[in-house]
């Protein structure tokens, strides 16, 4: 497997929406590389005929709920934790700038 480089980190930062500071960058790249080379040992295991495990409890299927409303959190209750709000809405910075003609 190829080495994890600074440009890979940049790409991940954009996917995960986290910025890594210049001072933490080298350490993080080194750690990720060490972890990735450690997990390489999985390739010793022959899994050609092995299915991926997706459910742990044997015979258990994900339970489906009836399509009915229950235990609904009120808007007011929900918005108590909001960092910013206008009336009954979450407030966020302007997404589409106003321009001439719109």
């Amino acid at each position: 497997m190829s080495t994890f480089k600074e440009e890979d980190l940049l790409f991940l930062e954009s996917l995960a929406r986290i910025h890594v500071s210049v001072k933490d960058k080298d350490r993080l790249i080194e750690n990720i590389n060490r972890i990735l080379s450690f997990v390489e040992m999985l390739h010793e295991v022959d899994t050609e005929k092995t299915p991926p495990l997706t459910h742990i409890i044997k015979g258990m299927k994900a339970k489906l709920d009836n399509d009915e409303v229950r235990d609904v959190l009120s808007t007011e209750e929900f918005l108590k934790n909001a960092p910013d709000r206008i009336g009954g809405f979450l407030k966020v910075p302007v997404v589409i700038e106003e321009k001439d003609g719109y």
């Binding site: 995960a16 986290i18 299915p51 991926p52 994900a62 235990d71 959190l73 934790n81 979450l90 302007v94």
Partner: protein, 487 residues
């Protein structure tokens, strides 16, 4: 009263030797002055109100719950309506839970009183409670040492007699390892046996809430309260649980205990010798030991460090500065709200795991990492299936080494490898209990794990009961506790 078990305390309350208010006032006082850094918040007003309500309930002659008057501490990733739930992160510093977790509702239905929230590694990512954004937690047995993690606060709280019972969460050993380090019981039930509704998700296919206690009877009692089907958790086991207290007859005659001998190579010699003594005691109780093998266990750590970060990167995507986390004051655009808030909010270990998880799930790498790990996870489960053909339960040490000193492990890989013996139970969804079995020469606790097939949680507890009847390790109290056991 601090060294009483939950069963004893509840009995004293029911016999009116103590009122709930007296019990809770005493424990709150102790919690407010506790020396271990085990707690993140003390729920004084709420607990006193509940205690007064319980005293009124007793006066009115109503039937009292199984845990009536018992103070309980819960890890700070479990929601209690109206109270802070920080997950050990600055990102959730001001978050107040809008509803209660099912485990909280169940505890309160049975008249337990939650007195505090316990410190933890940030978002449960760590094995020493050192990644908490707030403060470190000390091991009550020796305050230079860590209590383990990620539920280190919950473990230190019970070991340090701040409450007879607490709750943690276990994704790769986060209940069992701190239980071993703190000399108490810590239980990870069968996956789905205890509802995860209201537990802040880390890696949903591995997470389980589990209790800590100082006696096996207390552990069975709280498990009776917690192990109930839940409509709010789609992975909750819908059949009712057995009566765990009833399962504790201590009879393990003819029980076959599987021992994976390969695990013992290279582990700490004192832990190895404690383990052999543990097996001898069980044989004296009439159990047989048989050698088994779990050949893929060595791969459990790499599998875990692919699957858990992958699931975490998805679960933690909800923390974005929009709905309920702190929002960066520097952000001017919507995109900056996301990026700046997450950058400021998450600590280093969490950031590292989110990025790692994002990487293993990203286009081109998913098959090589994520899918490969799921396949090896299948093999780890298959090993258990094969092993349980030859034995009823499996026993091995909870940790390869005794508790370590604060700050002594800084390398992430060395820290991750601490989980070598605990992860596989999460991989396979098995019940697994860490039992306190003694102390090292330096007076640090040692824990041994017993695991059983899924749904046989009571069997695991009964092995502990048999051991408890033959030994007195569970009665040991840390030297930092100066209280009077006979008050």
């Amino acid at each position: 009263m601090f060294s009483l078990s939950a069963i004893e305390l509840s009995l004293k309350f029911k016999k009116k030797e103590y009122s709930a208010t007296e019990i809770i006032t005493a424990f709150l006082q102790r919690a407010k002055n506790e020396p271990y850094g085990a707690l993140l918040s003390v729920l004084e007003d709420r607990a006193l109100k509940k205690a007064a309500e319980l005293d009124a309930k007793q006066k009115s002659g109503k039937t009292l719950g199984l845990l009536a008057g018992v103070p309980v501490i819960v890890k700070d990733n479990i929601l209690i309506q109206g109270e802070k739930t920080t997950c050990g992160s600055k990102f959730l510093e001001n978050y107040r839970a809008p509803y209660s977790a099912t485990v909280v509702t169940e505890l309160e239905k049975h008249d337990a009183i939650i007195i505090a929230k316990a410190n933890m590694d940030e978002f449960a990512m760590g094995s020493s409670t050192a990644t908490s954004a707030y403060h470190r937690t000390d091991n009550p047995w020796n305050q230079d040492y860590t209590p383990g993690g990620s539920s280190g606060g919950s473990a230190a709280a019970v070991a340090g007699l701040l409450a007879p019972l607490s709750l943690g969460s276990d994704t790769g050993g986060s209940v069992r390892q701190p239980a071993a380090f703190c000399g108490i019981y810590g239980f990870k039930p069968t996956y789905g046996r205890i509802s995860r509704h209201g537990l802040v998700a880390f890696a949903s296919s591995l997470d389980q809430i589990g209790p800590f206690s100082r006696s096996i009877d207390d552990l069975a009692l709280i498990s009776n309260v917690l192990a109930t089907p839940c409509n709010h958790d789609s992975t909750s086991i819908q059949t009712p649980a057995e009566d765990y207290l009833n399962a504790l007859d201590g009879d393990i005659c003819h029980l076959k205990i599987g021992v994976p001998r390969e695990f013992l190579e290279g582990i700490d010699p004192e832990i190895r010798s404690a383990f052999e003594k543990f097996l001898t005691t069980l044989r004296e109780c009439g159990a047989q030991t048989v050698d088994i093998t779990l050949p893929h266990n060595n791969y459990s750590v790499p599998v875990y460090y692919i699957l858990a970060p992958a699931e975490a990167s998805t679960n933690l995507a909800r923390f974005d500065g929009i709905r309920y986390t702190s929002r960066s004051k520097k952000a001017k655009t919507l995109s900056e709200v996301y990026t700046f808030s997450r950058t400021e909010g998450f600590g280093k270990e969490v950031t590292q795991r989110i990025l790692l998880g994002t990487y293993v799930l990203s286009a081109g790498f998913q098959d090589a990492y994520y899918k490969k790990a799921q396949k090896v996870r299948y093999k780890i489960c298959k090993d258990y299936e094969d092993a349980f053909e030859k034995c009823d339960v499996i026993a091995f040490p909870t940790t390869p080494v005794p508790p370590f000193k604060h700050g002594s492990i800084t390398d992430p890989l060395t820290m991750y490898k601490q989980d070598i013996f605990t992860i596989s139970a999460n991989m396979a969804g098995l019940p697994s209990l860490s039992i306190p079995v003694g102390l090292t020469k330096e007076a640090l606790p040692i824990g041994i794990q017993v695991q059983a097939p899924q749904m046989q949680d009571g069997l695991v507890m009964n092995v502990a009961k048999a051991f408890e009847l033959k030994t007195s390790f569970f009665r040991l109290r840390p030297p930092s506790y100066q209280g009077n056991d006979h008050e």
